[in-house]
Protein backbone atom coordinates (compact mmCIF):
# COMPACT_ATOMS: atom_id res chain seq x y z
CA UNK A 1 0.00 0.00 0.00
CA UNK A 2 2.68 2.42 1.09
CA UNK A 3 4.82 2.31 -2.02
CA UNK A 4 1.87 2.80 -4.35
CA UNK A 5 0.87 5.96 -2.51
CA UNK A 6 4.42 7.27 -2.61
CA UNK A 7 4.65 6.55 -6.32
CA UNK A 8 1.33 8.22 -7.04
CA UNK A 9 2.42 11.27 -5.10
CA UNK A 10 5.62 11.29 -7.08
CA UNK A 11 3.81 11.23 -10.43
CA UNK A 12 1.43 13.89 -9.23
CA UNK A 13 4.35 16.12 -8.30
CA UNK A 14 5.62 15.73 -11.85
CA UNK A 15 2.25 16.80 -13.21
CA UNK A 16 2.39 19.77 -10.91
CA UNK A 17 5.81 20.71 -12.28
CA UNK A 18 4.44 20.54 -15.80
CA UNK A 19 1.55 22.76 -14.76
CA UNK A 20 3.94 25.28 -13.21
CA UNK A 21 6.04 25.33 -16.37
CA UNK A 22 2.92 25.95 -18.45
CA UNK A 23 1.94 28.88 -16.27
CA UNK A 24 5.45 30.26 -16.48
CA UNK A 25 5.27 29.98 -20.24
CA UNK A 26 1.95 31.78 -20.31
CA UNK A 27 3.24 34.70 -18.28
CA UNK A 28 6.42 34.89 -20.31
CA UNK A 29 4.29 35.11 -23.46
CA UNK A 30 2.35 38.02 -21.97
CA UNK A 31 5.59 39.72 -21.08
CA UNK A 32 7.01 39.12 -24.55
CA UNK A 33 3.93 40.73 -26.06
CA UNK A 34 4.62 43.97 -24.29
CA UNK A 35 8.34 44.39 -24.94
CA UNK A 36 10.04 45.19 -28.21
CA UNK A 37 11.70 47.77 -30.43
CA UNK A 38 8.74 50.12 -30.31
CA UNK A 39 7.95 51.01 -26.76
CA UNK A 40 4.27 50.49 -26.24
CA UNK A 41 2.74 50.88 -22.82
CA UNK A 42 1.06 47.73 -21.53
CA UNK A 43 -2.26 49.54 -21.73
CA UNK A 44 -1.87 50.16 -25.45
CA UNK A 45 -0.71 46.60 -26.02
CA UNK A 46 -3.77 45.17 -24.30
CA UNK A 47 -6.12 47.57 -26.02
CA UNK A 48 -4.62 46.59 -29.35
CA UNK A 49 -4.74 42.92 -28.49
CA UNK A 50 -8.40 42.89 -27.51
CA UNK A 51 -9.45 45.25 -30.28
CA UNK A 52 -9.62 42.36 -32.71
CA UNK A 53 -11.60 40.18 -30.35
CA UNK A 54 -13.99 42.68 -28.80
CA UNK A 55 -15.40 45.83 -30.34
CA UNK A 56 -12.80 48.13 -28.83
CA UNK A 57 -11.10 51.07 -30.45
CA UNK A 58 -7.34 51.09 -30.75
CA UNK A 59 -4.75 52.95 -32.77
CA UNK A 60 -3.65 51.34 -36.03
CA UNK A 61 0.09 51.28 -35.22
CA UNK A 62 -0.18 49.31 -32.00
CA UNK A 63 -2.67 46.97 -33.59
CA UNK A 64 -0.24 46.16 -36.41
CA UNK A 65 2.69 45.76 -34.03
CA UNK A 66 0.80 43.45 -31.71
CA UNK A 67 -1.16 41.41 -34.23
CA UNK A 68 1.17 41.26 -37.22
CA UNK A 69 4.61 41.41 -35.63
CA UNK A 70 4.71 40.27 -32.03
CA UNK A 71 1.93 37.74 -31.79
CA UNK A 72 2.95 35.56 -34.75
CA UNK A 73 6.54 35.77 -33.63
CA UNK A 74 5.78 34.67 -30.08
CA UNK A 75 3.58 31.85 -31.28
CA UNK A 76 6.23 30.77 -33.79
CA UNK A 77 8.83 30.75 -31.02
CA UNK A 78 6.55 28.61 -28.85
CA UNK A 79 5.72 26.05 -31.52
CA UNK A 80 9.23 25.87 -33.00
CA UNK A 81 10.81 25.56 -29.56
CA UNK A 82 8.35 22.88 -28.51
CA UNK A 83 8.72 20.98 -31.77
CA UNK A 84 12.52 21.02 -31.83
CA UNK A 85 12.66 19.89 -28.21
CA UNK A 86 10.17 17.11 -28.91
CA UNK A 87 12.27 16.00 -31.89
CA UNK A 88 15.36 15.97 -29.69
CA UNK A 89 13.69 13.99 -26.90
CA UNK A 90 12.33 11.43 -29.32
CA UNK A 91 15.57 10.80 -31.20
CA UNK A 92 17.50 10.55 -27.93
CA UNK A 93 15.02 7.97 -26.73
CA UNK A 94 14.87 6.03 -29.98
CA UNK A 95 18.63 5.86 -30.37
CA UNK A 96 19.25 5.50 -26.63
CA UNK A 97 21.78 8.26 -26.94
CA UNK A 98 21.88 11.48 -24.96
CA UNK A 99 23.91 13.17 -27.70
CA UNK A 100 21.31 12.75 -30.43
CA UNK A 101 19.59 15.90 -31.65
CA UNK A 102 18.43 17.41 -34.94
CA UNK A 103 21.81 19.09 -35.05
CA UNK A 104 24.07 16.13 -34.35
CA UNK A 105 22.13 13.94 -36.74
CA UNK A 106 22.98 16.33 -39.58
CA UNK A 107 19.40 17.41 -40.22
CA UNK A 108 19.96 21.08 -39.57
CA UNK A 109 22.99 21.35 -41.80
CA UNK A 110 21.26 19.44 -44.59
CA UNK A 111 18.39 21.90 -44.37
CA UNK A 112 20.94 24.71 -44.48
CA UNK A 113 22.41 23.33 -47.67
CA UNK A 114 18.98 23.04 -49.26
CA UNK A 115 18.19 26.61 -48.32
CA UNK A 116 21.54 27.83 -49.67
CA UNK A 117 20.92 26.10 -52.97
CA UNK A 118 17.76 28.13 -53.31
CA UNK A 119 19.29 31.38 -52.07
CA UNK A 120 22.49 31.23 -54.10
CA UNK A 121 21.65 29.37 -57.29
CA UNK A 122 17.88 29.71 -57.29
CA UNK A 123 17.69 25.97 -57.66
CA UNK A 124 14.78 23.98 -56.36
CA UNK A 125 11.87 21.79 -57.29
CA UNK A 126 9.30 24.51 -56.81
CA UNK A 127 9.84 28.19 -57.38
CA UNK A 128 8.25 31.23 -55.88
CA UNK A 129 7.93 32.36 -52.34
CA UNK A 130 8.54 28.98 -50.76
CA UNK A 131 11.55 27.94 -52.83
CA UNK A 132 13.95 28.17 -49.90
CA UNK A 133 11.56 26.61 -47.43
CA UNK A 134 10.78 23.65 -49.65
CA UNK A 135 14.43 23.10 -50.49
CA UNK A 136 15.36 23.10 -46.83
CA UNK A 137 12.51 20.72 -46.06
CA UNK A 138 13.50 18.23 -48.74
CA UNK A 139 17.16 18.13 -47.78
CA UNK A 140 16.32 17.78 -44.10
CA UNK A 141 14.09 14.84 -44.96
CA UNK A 142 16.79 13.36 -47.15
CA UNK A 143 19.35 13.44 -44.36
CA UNK A 144 17.05 11.92 -41.74
CA UNK A 145 16.09 9.13 -44.08
CA UNK A 146 19.78 8.55 -44.56
CA UNK A 147 20.19 8.28 -40.79
CA UNK A 148 17.09 6.12 -40.57
CA UNK A 149 18.40 3.81 -43.28
CA UNK A 150 21.59 3.41 -41.31
CA UNK A 151 19.72 2.76 -38.08
CA UNK A 152 17.74 -0.17 -39.48
CA UNK A 153 20.87 -1.73 -40.91
CA UNK A 154 21.78 -4.65 -38.69
CA UNK A 155 24.57 -4.25 -36.23
CA UNK A 156 24.58 -0.47 -36.38
CA UNK A 157 25.12 0.79 -32.85
CA UNK A 158 23.60 4.08 -31.77
CA UNK A 159 27.11 5.51 -31.46
CA UNK A 160 27.78 4.71 -35.10
CA UNK A 161 24.50 6.33 -36.09
CA UNK A 162 25.47 9.52 -34.27
CA UNK A 163 28.90 9.38 -35.89
CA UNK A 164 27.27 8.96 -39.29
CA UNK A 165 25.00 11.91 -38.47
CA UNK A 166 27.98 14.06 -37.61
CA UNK A 167 29.66 12.99 -40.85
CA UNK A 168 26.50 13.99 -42.74
CA UNK A 169 26.56 17.30 -40.91
CA UNK A 170 30.14 17.98 -42.08
CA UNK A 171 29.31 16.89 -45.60
CA UNK A 172 26.47 19.36 -45.94
CA UNK A 173 28.28 22.20 -44.22
CA UNK A 174 31.21 21.88 -46.59
CA UNK A 175 28.85 21.86 -49.53
CA UNK A 176 27.24 24.96 -48.07
CA UNK A 177 30.59 26.70 -47.68
CA UNK A 178 31.39 26.00 -51.33
CA UNK A 179 28.09 27.65 -52.22
CA UNK A 180 28.89 30.56 -49.92
CA UNK A 181 32.25 30.98 -51.60
CA UNK A 182 30.59 31.24 -55.01
CA UNK A 183 27.72 33.41 -53.88
CA UNK A 184 27.00 37.06 -54.77
CA UNK A 185 27.25 39.37 -51.72
CA UNK A 186 23.46 39.71 -51.41
CA UNK A 187 22.88 36.00 -51.66
CA UNK A 188 25.74 35.37 -49.25
CA UNK A 189 24.08 37.63 -46.72
CA UNK A 190 20.90 35.66 -47.12
CA UNK A 191 22.70 32.39 -46.54
CA UNK A 192 24.49 33.68 -43.46
CA UNK A 193 21.23 34.91 -41.98
CA UNK A 194 19.48 31.66 -42.75
CA UNK A 195 22.24 29.61 -41.16
CA UNK A 196 22.14 31.71 -38.03
CA UNK A 197 18.48 31.00 -37.81
CA UNK A 198 15.90 33.28 -36.34
CA UNK A 199 12.31 34.25 -36.02
CA UNK A 200 12.63 37.82 -37.36
CA UNK A 201 10.60 37.00 -40.47
CA UNK A 202 7.76 35.47 -38.46
CA UNK A 203 4.35 35.87 -40.05
CA UNK A 204 1.08 34.06 -39.58
CA UNK A 205 1.81 32.22 -42.81
CA UNK A 206 5.02 30.87 -41.36
CA UNK A 207 3.55 30.16 -37.98
CA UNK A 208 0.70 27.89 -39.05
CA UNK A 209 2.75 25.18 -40.81
CA UNK A 210 5.16 24.96 -37.88
CA UNK A 211 2.30 24.86 -35.40
CA UNK A 212 0.39 22.15 -37.23
CA UNK A 213 3.43 19.96 -37.79
CA UNK A 214 4.22 20.07 -34.07
CA UNK A 215 0.59 19.49 -33.16
CA UNK A 216 0.34 16.60 -35.61
CA UNK A 217 3.49 14.81 -34.39
CA UNK A 218 2.92 15.15 -30.65
CA UNK A 219 0.07 12.67 -29.99
CA UNK A 220 1.54 9.66 -31.84
CA UNK A 221 4.92 10.24 -30.21
CA UNK A 222 3.36 10.55 -26.78
CA UNK A 223 1.61 7.26 -27.43
CA UNK A 224 5.04 5.70 -27.82
CA UNK A 225 6.06 6.77 -24.29
CA UNK A 226 6.02 3.26 -22.88
CA UNK A 227 7.84 1.87 -25.88
CA UNK A 228 10.51 4.52 -25.47
CA UNK A 229 10.81 3.65 -21.79
CA UNK A 230 11.22 0.00 -22.70
CA UNK A 231 13.80 0.85 -25.36
CA UNK A 232 15.91 2.55 -22.72
CA UNK A 233 16.57 -0.91 -21.25
CA UNK A 234 17.90 -2.15 -24.58
CA UNK A 235 16.36 -3.59 -27.73
CA UNK A 236 16.21 -7.13 -26.38
CA UNK A 237 14.38 -6.21 -23.23
CA UNK A 238 11.98 -4.11 -25.27
CA UNK A 239 11.31 -7.00 -27.65
CA UNK A 240 10.78 -9.29 -24.69
CA UNK A 241 8.16 -6.83 -23.45
CA UNK A 242 6.31 -7.13 -26.73
CA UNK A 243 7.53 -3.88 -28.30
CA UNK A 244 7.79 -3.98 -32.08
CA UNK A 245 11.19 -2.31 -31.99
CA UNK A 246 11.59 -1.96 -35.76
CA UNK A 247 8.22 -0.30 -36.20
CA UNK A 248 8.57 2.05 -33.24
CA UNK A 249 11.99 3.16 -34.41
CA UNK A 250 10.80 3.52 -38.01
CA UNK A 251 7.63 5.49 -37.28
CA UNK A 252 9.44 7.49 -34.60
CA UNK A 253 12.25 8.54 -36.91
CA UNK A 254 9.84 9.41 -39.73
CA UNK A 255 7.93 11.70 -37.37
CA UNK A 256 11.25 13.07 -36.12
CA UNK A 257 12.26 13.92 -39.70
CA UNK A 258 8.93 15.53 -40.44
CA UNK A 259 9.09 17.57 -37.27
CA UNK A 260 12.66 18.77 -37.69
CA UNK A 261 12.44 19.40 -41.42
CA UNK A 262 9.12 21.19 -41.06
CA UNK A 263 10.38 23.52 -38.37
CA UNK A 264 13.95 24.15 -39.47
CA UNK A 265 12.84 24.99 -43.00
CA UNK A 266 10.88 27.94 -41.63
CA UNK A 267 13.19 29.13 -38.89
CA UNK A 268 16.67 28.30 -40.16
CA UNK A 269 19.09 26.34 -38.02
CA UNK A 270 18.44 26.87 -34.35
CA UNK A 271 20.74 24.40 -32.69
CA UNK A 272 20.99 23.57 -29.02
CA UNK A 273 17.25 23.63 -28.19
CA UNK A 274 16.76 20.10 -29.50
CA UNK A 275 19.78 18.80 -27.63
CA UNK A 276 19.37 20.50 -24.28
CA UNK A 277 15.64 20.80 -23.63
CA UNK A 278 15.15 17.03 -23.19
CA UNK A 279 18.00 16.94 -20.69
CA UNK A 280 16.57 19.86 -18.75
CA UNK A 281 13.23 18.07 -18.79
CA UNK A 282 14.77 14.84 -17.48
CA UNK A 283 16.50 16.72 -14.70
CA UNK A 284 13.08 17.98 -13.67
CA UNK A 285 10.82 14.97 -14.14
CA UNK A 286 13.12 11.95 -14.49
CA UNK A 287 13.37 9.55 -17.41
CA UNK A 288 9.75 8.45 -17.87
CA UNK A 289 8.83 9.51 -21.41
CA UNK A 290 5.20 10.06 -20.44
CA UNK A 291 6.47 13.14 -18.66
CA UNK A 292 9.71 13.79 -20.53
CA UNK A 293 7.97 14.46 -23.85
CA UNK A 294 5.50 17.13 -22.68
CA UNK A 295 8.06 18.63 -20.33
CA UNK A 296 10.65 18.84 -23.14
CA UNK A 297 8.14 20.69 -25.29
CA UNK A 298 7.54 23.22 -22.53
CA UNK A 299 11.26 23.59 -21.89
CA UNK A 300 11.98 24.12 -25.58
CA UNK A 301 9.19 26.66 -25.91
CA UNK A 302 10.34 28.46 -22.79
CA UNK A 303 13.96 28.53 -23.88
CA UNK A 304 13.27 29.74 -27.41
CA UNK A 305 10.72 32.35 -26.38
CA UNK A 306 12.99 33.73 -23.66
CA UNK A 307 15.96 33.85 -26.03
CA UNK A 308 14.01 35.43 -28.85
CA UNK A 309 12.49 38.04 -26.59
CA UNK A 310 15.94 38.97 -25.33
CA UNK A 311 17.34 38.85 -28.87
CA UNK A 312 14.88 41.43 -30.13
CA UNK A 313 14.73 43.70 -27.13
CA UNK A 314 18.20 43.70 -25.57
CA UNK A 315 19.80 46.23 -27.93
CA UNK A 316 16.66 47.16 -29.87
CA UNK A 317 16.16 48.10 -32.66
CA UNK A 318 19.15 45.91 -33.57
CA UNK A 319 18.53 42.19 -33.24
CA UNK A 320 20.98 39.64 -31.94
CA UNK A 321 20.79 36.26 -33.72
CA UNK A 322 18.51 34.10 -31.60
CA UNK A 323 20.78 31.06 -31.91
CA UNK A 324 23.56 33.01 -30.23
CA UNK A 325 21.26 34.11 -27.41
CA UNK A 326 19.93 30.59 -26.92
CA UNK A 327 23.44 29.29 -26.47
CA UNK A 328 24.61 32.18 -24.32
CA UNK A 329 21.56 31.84 -22.11
CA UNK A 330 21.22 28.09 -22.06
CA UNK A 331 24.74 26.74 -21.98
CA UNK A 332 25.94 28.27 -18.69
CA UNK A 333 22.69 27.17 -17.11
CA UNK A 334 23.02 23.70 -18.56
CA UNK A 335 26.65 23.34 -17.51
CA UNK A 336 25.73 24.48 -14.04
CA UNK A 337 23.08 21.79 -13.76
CA UNK A 338 25.45 19.24 -15.22
CA UNK A 339 28.07 19.97 -12.58
CA UNK A 340 25.55 20.12 -9.78
CA UNK A 341 23.86 16.85 -10.57
CA UNK A 342 26.83 14.62 -10.90
CA UNK A 343 25.00 11.54 -11.88
CA UNK A 344 26.04 9.13 -14.53
CA UNK A 345 23.14 9.72 -16.88
CA UNK A 346 24.44 12.92 -18.31
CA UNK A 347 27.65 12.53 -20.21
Amino acid sequence: MGIEKVYLRYTRSKLLLILILSLLLFFLSLLALSVGAVNLSPGRVWRAFFSRIFPLSSDHLSEVIVWELRLPRILLALSAGAGLALAGAVCQGLLRNPLASPYTLGVSSAAGFGASLGLVLGLGVYGGEYLVVINAFLFALLSTFLVWGLSIKKGMSSESIILAGIAVMYLFSSLTSILQYMAEPRALQGVVFWLMGGLYHATWKRFFPVFFITLFCFPPLLRYSWDLNALAMGDETAKGLGVNVGRVRGVGLVLFSLLTAGIVSFTGTIGFIGLVSPHLARMLVGGDHRFVLPCSCLMGALLLLASDTLARSLIAPTEIPVGAVTSLLGIPFFLHLLMKKRREFWP
Partner: protein, 260 residues
Amino acid sequence: MRVVVKGLFFRYGSLPVLEGVELEAEGGEITGLVGPNGSGKTTLLRCVAGILKPQRGSIFLDGKEIGEFTPKELSRKIGYLPQGPSPPFPLTVFDTVLLGRKPYLGWRVGERDLRVVSEILKKVGLEKLALRPFNELSGGERQKVLLARVLAQEPEILLLDEPTINLDLRHQLELLSLIRKEVKRKGLSALMALHDLNLASTFSDRIVLLKKGRIFAIGRPEEVLTPSNLERVYGVKVKRMRRPWGFHLLPLRPSKSSLK
Protein backbone atom coordinates in the same frame (compact mmCIF):
# COMPACT_ATOMS: atom_id res chain seq x y z
CA MET B 1 4.09 -24.28 -18.62
CA ARG B 2 5.87 -26.92 -20.66
CA VAL B 3 8.57 -25.78 -23.06
CA VAL B 4 9.66 -28.15 -25.80
CA VAL B 5 12.52 -27.36 -28.15
CA LYS B 6 12.80 -29.59 -31.20
CA GLY B 7 15.66 -29.83 -33.68
CA LEU B 8 16.72 -26.21 -33.35
CA PHE B 9 19.21 -24.88 -35.90
CA PHE B 10 20.32 -21.28 -35.88
CA ARG B 11 23.07 -19.40 -37.65
CA TYR B 12 24.07 -15.74 -37.71
CA GLY B 13 24.91 -15.22 -41.39
CA SER B 14 27.06 -18.23 -42.22
CA LEU B 15 28.16 -18.82 -38.63
CA PRO B 16 26.30 -21.76 -37.13
CA VAL B 17 25.43 -21.23 -33.46
CA LEU B 18 22.85 -23.88 -32.64
CA GLU B 19 22.95 -27.25 -34.36
CA GLY B 20 20.09 -29.51 -33.53
CA VAL B 21 19.23 -28.58 -29.96
CA GLU B 22 16.44 -30.58 -28.32
CA LEU B 23 15.20 -30.09 -24.80
CA GLU B 24 12.15 -30.02 -22.61
CA ALA B 25 11.47 -27.94 -19.52
CA GLU B 26 8.65 -28.54 -17.07
CA GLY B 27 6.87 -26.12 -14.79
CA GLY B 28 8.39 -25.80 -11.34
CA GLU B 29 11.86 -26.65 -12.60
CA ILE B 30 15.02 -24.70 -13.17
CA THR B 31 17.01 -25.86 -16.15
CA GLY B 32 20.57 -24.59 -15.97
CA LEU B 33 22.28 -23.90 -19.29
CA VAL B 34 26.02 -24.23 -18.98
CA GLY B 35 28.82 -24.33 -21.50
CA PRO B 36 31.85 -22.32 -22.61
CA ASN B 37 31.60 -18.85 -24.16
CA GLY B 38 30.07 -19.07 -27.62
CA SER B 39 28.46 -22.44 -26.99
CA GLY B 40 25.04 -21.01 -27.84
CA LYS B 41 23.41 -20.38 -24.45
CA THR B 42 22.31 -16.83 -25.18
CA THR B 43 21.19 -17.68 -28.71
CA LEU B 44 19.09 -20.53 -27.36
CA LEU B 45 17.42 -18.18 -24.88
CA ARG B 46 16.77 -15.61 -27.61
CA CYS B 47 15.15 -18.25 -29.78
CA VAL B 48 12.90 -19.43 -26.96
CA ALA B 49 12.04 -15.80 -26.19
CA GLY B 50 10.83 -15.45 -29.76
CA ILE B 51 13.35 -12.72 -30.51
CA LEU B 52 15.35 -14.79 -32.99
CA LYS B 53 13.73 -16.96 -35.61
CA PRO B 54 15.57 -20.25 -35.96
CA GLN B 55 16.30 -21.45 -39.50
CA ARG B 56 15.08 -24.93 -38.66
CA GLY B 57 13.30 -26.60 -35.79
CA SER B 58 10.51 -25.41 -33.57
CA ILE B 59 9.65 -24.38 -30.05
CA PHE B 60 6.37 -25.34 -28.41
CA LEU B 61 4.81 -23.75 -25.35
CA ASP B 62 2.23 -26.16 -23.95
CA GLY B 63 2.05 -27.78 -27.37
CA LYS B 64 1.50 -24.58 -29.32
CA GLU B 65 4.16 -23.42 -31.77
CA ILE B 66 5.82 -20.20 -30.69
CA GLY B 67 5.11 -18.50 -34.04
CA GLU B 68 1.38 -18.79 -33.37
CA PHE B 69 1.58 -16.37 -30.48
CA THR B 70 1.49 -12.62 -31.04
CA PRO B 71 4.40 -10.65 -29.53
CA LYS B 72 2.00 -9.35 -26.89
CA GLU B 73 0.82 -12.83 -25.91
CA LEU B 74 4.43 -13.98 -25.72
CA SER B 75 5.37 -11.06 -23.51
CA ARG B 76 2.67 -12.14 -21.05
CA LYS B 77 3.91 -15.71 -20.99
CA ILE B 78 7.66 -15.27 -21.14
CA GLY B 79 9.76 -13.14 -18.85
CA TYR B 80 13.11 -12.66 -20.53
CA LEU B 81 16.01 -11.13 -18.63
CA PRO B 82 18.81 -10.48 -21.13
CA GLN B 83 22.23 -9.05 -20.39
CA GLY B 84 21.07 -5.62 -21.43
CA PRO B 85 22.98 -2.35 -21.42
CA SER B 86 22.27 0.05 -18.60
CA PRO B 87 19.72 2.70 -19.54
CA PRO B 88 21.09 6.04 -20.73
CA PHE B 89 18.39 7.98 -18.88
CA PRO B 90 17.32 8.04 -15.25
CA LEU B 91 14.31 5.80 -14.74
CA THR B 92 13.28 5.21 -11.13
CA VAL B 93 13.25 1.72 -9.67
CA PHE B 94 9.46 1.76 -9.56
CA ASP B 95 9.20 2.85 -13.19
CA THR B 96 11.70 0.20 -14.23
CA VAL B 97 9.68 -2.55 -12.58
CA LEU B 98 6.50 -1.01 -13.95
CA LEU B 99 7.93 -1.68 -17.42
CA GLY B 100 7.19 -5.31 -16.70
CA ARG B 101 3.51 -4.34 -16.86
CA LYS B 102 3.96 -3.05 -20.42
CA PRO B 103 2.35 -6.18 -21.89
CA TYR B 104 -0.82 -5.38 -19.93
CA LEU B 105 -0.85 -1.61 -20.12
CA GLY B 106 -2.53 0.74 -22.49
CA TRP B 107 -1.21 4.18 -21.78
CA ARG B 108 -2.61 4.55 -18.30
CA VAL B 109 -1.33 2.60 -15.36
CA GLY B 110 -4.06 0.69 -13.56
CA GLU B 111 -4.43 0.03 -9.86
CA ARG B 112 -3.63 -3.62 -10.32
CA ASP B 113 -0.38 -2.73 -12.08
CA LEU B 114 0.67 -0.53 -9.19
CA ARG B 115 -0.25 -3.25 -6.70
CA VAL B 116 1.69 -5.94 -8.55
CA VAL B 117 4.76 -3.72 -8.76
CA SER B 118 4.74 -2.76 -5.10
CA GLU B 119 4.21 -6.35 -3.98
CA ILE B 120 7.16 -7.50 -6.03
CA LEU B 121 9.34 -4.66 -4.80
CA LYS B 122 8.57 -5.79 -1.26
CA LYS B 123 9.32 -9.37 -2.17
CA VAL B 124 12.79 -8.53 -3.48
CA GLY B 125 13.34 -6.17 -0.55
CA LEU B 126 13.72 -2.97 -2.52
CA GLU B 127 10.67 -1.01 -1.38
CA LYS B 128 12.91 1.58 0.26
CA LEU B 129 14.61 2.29 -3.06
CA ALA B 130 11.39 2.63 -5.06
CA LEU B 131 11.98 6.21 -6.14
CA ARG B 132 15.75 6.04 -6.55
CA PRO B 133 17.10 6.23 -10.12
CA PHE B 134 17.99 2.78 -11.38
CA ASN B 135 21.48 3.82 -12.47
CA GLU B 136 22.41 4.92 -8.96
CA LEU B 137 22.00 1.44 -7.51
CA SER B 138 24.73 -1.10 -6.95
CA GLY B 139 25.11 -3.96 -9.38
CA GLY B 140 23.35 -6.38 -7.05
CA GLU B 141 20.40 -4.08 -6.46
CA ARG B 142 20.10 -3.41 -10.18
CA GLN B 143 19.93 -7.09 -10.96
CA LYS B 144 17.21 -7.51 -8.34
CA VAL B 145 15.26 -4.67 -9.93
CA LEU B 146 15.58 -6.34 -13.32
CA LEU B 147 14.40 -9.62 -11.86
CA ALA B 148 11.48 -7.76 -10.29
CA ARG B 149 10.70 -6.31 -13.72
CA VAL B 150 10.56 -9.80 -15.22
CA LEU B 151 8.36 -11.06 -12.38
CA ALA B 152 6.00 -8.10 -12.85
CA GLN B 153 5.22 -9.57 -16.27
CA GLU B 154 3.58 -12.44 -14.36
CA PRO B 155 5.15 -14.90 -16.76
CA GLU B 156 4.86 -18.66 -16.88
CA ILE B 157 8.32 -19.06 -18.32
CA LEU B 158 11.49 -17.40 -17.09
CA LEU B 159 14.48 -17.00 -19.39
CA LEU B 160 17.48 -15.68 -17.51
CA ASP B 161 20.79 -14.88 -19.15
CA GLU B 162 23.61 -14.85 -16.61
CA PRO B 163 21.52 -13.21 -13.88
CA THR B 164 24.37 -13.30 -11.38
CA ILE B 165 27.07 -11.81 -13.57
CA ASN B 166 29.23 -9.22 -11.75
CA LEU B 167 27.42 -9.77 -8.44
CA ASP B 168 29.08 -10.30 -5.09
CA LEU B 169 28.62 -13.58 -3.24
CA ARG B 170 25.72 -12.52 -1.11
CA HIS B 171 23.79 -10.99 -4.00
CA GLN B 172 24.40 -14.08 -6.14
CA LEU B 173 22.87 -16.29 -3.50
CA GLU B 174 20.01 -13.93 -2.69
CA LEU B 175 19.08 -13.55 -6.34
CA LEU B 176 19.19 -17.25 -7.13
CA SER B 177 17.20 -18.11 -4.00
CA LEU B 178 14.58 -15.59 -5.03
CA ILE B 179 14.38 -17.12 -8.49
CA ARG B 180 14.15 -20.60 -7.04
CA LYS B 181 11.41 -19.62 -4.63
CA GLU B 182 9.32 -18.02 -7.39
CA VAL B 183 9.82 -20.98 -9.71
CA LYS B 184 8.67 -23.45 -7.04
CA ARG B 185 5.84 -21.34 -5.70
CA LYS B 186 4.29 -20.41 -9.02
CA GLY B 187 5.31 -23.48 -10.99
CA LEU B 188 7.28 -21.49 -13.54
CA SER B 189 9.54 -23.11 -16.08
CA ALA B 190 12.93 -21.47 -15.91
CA LEU B 191 15.81 -21.66 -18.36
CA MET B 192 18.87 -20.04 -16.85
CA ALA B 193 22.29 -19.59 -18.41
CA LEU B 194 25.02 -19.58 -15.78
CA HIS B 195 28.79 -19.59 -15.88
CA ASP B 196 29.40 -20.62 -12.30
CA LEU B 197 29.10 -24.40 -12.31
CA ASN B 198 28.78 -24.66 -8.54
CA LEU B 199 25.89 -22.22 -8.47
CA ALA B 200 24.38 -23.97 -11.46
CA SER B 201 24.55 -27.35 -9.74
CA THR B 202 23.14 -26.00 -6.49
CA PHE B 203 20.19 -24.13 -7.95
CA SER B 204 19.24 -26.16 -11.03
CA ASP B 205 16.99 -29.18 -11.13
CA ARG B 206 18.49 -30.15 -14.44
CA ILE B 207 21.59 -29.14 -16.33
CA VAL B 208 21.99 -28.76 -20.07
CA LEU B 209 25.66 -28.81 -21.02
CA LEU B 210 26.23 -27.14 -24.38
CA LYS B 211 29.28 -27.45 -26.59
CA LYS B 212 29.56 -25.57 -29.87
CA GLY B 213 25.83 -25.33 -30.40
CA ARG B 214 25.06 -28.94 -29.58
CA ILE B 215 23.84 -30.53 -26.39
CA PHE B 216 26.71 -32.49 -24.96
CA ALA B 217 24.88 -33.83 -21.96
CA ILE B 218 21.56 -33.32 -20.24
CA GLY B 219 20.29 -34.55 -16.90
CA ARG B 220 20.58 -34.06 -13.17
CA PRO B 221 23.54 -31.92 -12.04
CA GLU B 222 25.47 -34.86 -10.57
CA GLU B 223 25.08 -36.82 -13.80
CA VAL B 224 26.14 -34.04 -16.13
CA LEU B 225 28.79 -32.13 -14.25
CA THR B 226 31.37 -34.89 -14.13
CA PRO B 227 35.11 -34.24 -14.42
CA SER B 228 35.29 -36.14 -17.68
CA ASN B 229 32.38 -34.21 -19.27
CA LEU B 230 33.81 -30.92 -18.12
CA GLU B 231 37.24 -31.73 -19.44
CA ARG B 232 35.82 -32.61 -22.82
CA VAL B 233 33.63 -29.50 -23.02
CA TYR B 234 35.75 -26.84 -21.32
CA GLY B 235 39.20 -28.37 -21.74
CA VAL B 236 39.82 -27.95 -18.04
CA LYS B 237 40.85 -30.43 -15.36
CA VAL B 238 38.25 -30.29 -12.60
CA LYS B 239 38.30 -31.93 -9.23
CA ARG B 240 34.90 -32.98 -7.91
CA MET B 241 34.67 -33.18 -4.15
CA ARG B 242 31.87 -34.77 -2.18
CA ARG B 243 30.13 -32.47 0.20
CA PRO B 244 27.25 -32.98 2.62
CA TRP B 245 24.91 -31.08 0.27
CA GLY B 246 26.12 -32.83 -2.88
CA PHE B 247 29.40 -31.98 -4.50
CA HIS B 248 31.76 -29.13 -5.15
CA LEU B 249 33.72 -28.50 -8.33
CA LEU B 250 37.21 -27.12 -8.16
CA PRO B 251 38.79 -26.18 -11.49
CA LEU B 252 42.50 -27.07 -11.44
CA ARG B 253 44.16 -26.17 -14.77
CA PRO B 254 43.59 -26.22 -18.52
CA SER B 255 44.11 -29.77 -19.68
CA LYS B 256 46.95 -30.28 -22.18
CA SER B 257 45.14 -32.82 -24.29
CA SER B 258 42.41 -30.34 -25.18
CA LEU B 259 44.81 -28.12 -27.12
CA LYS B 260 44.35 -30.08 -30.27
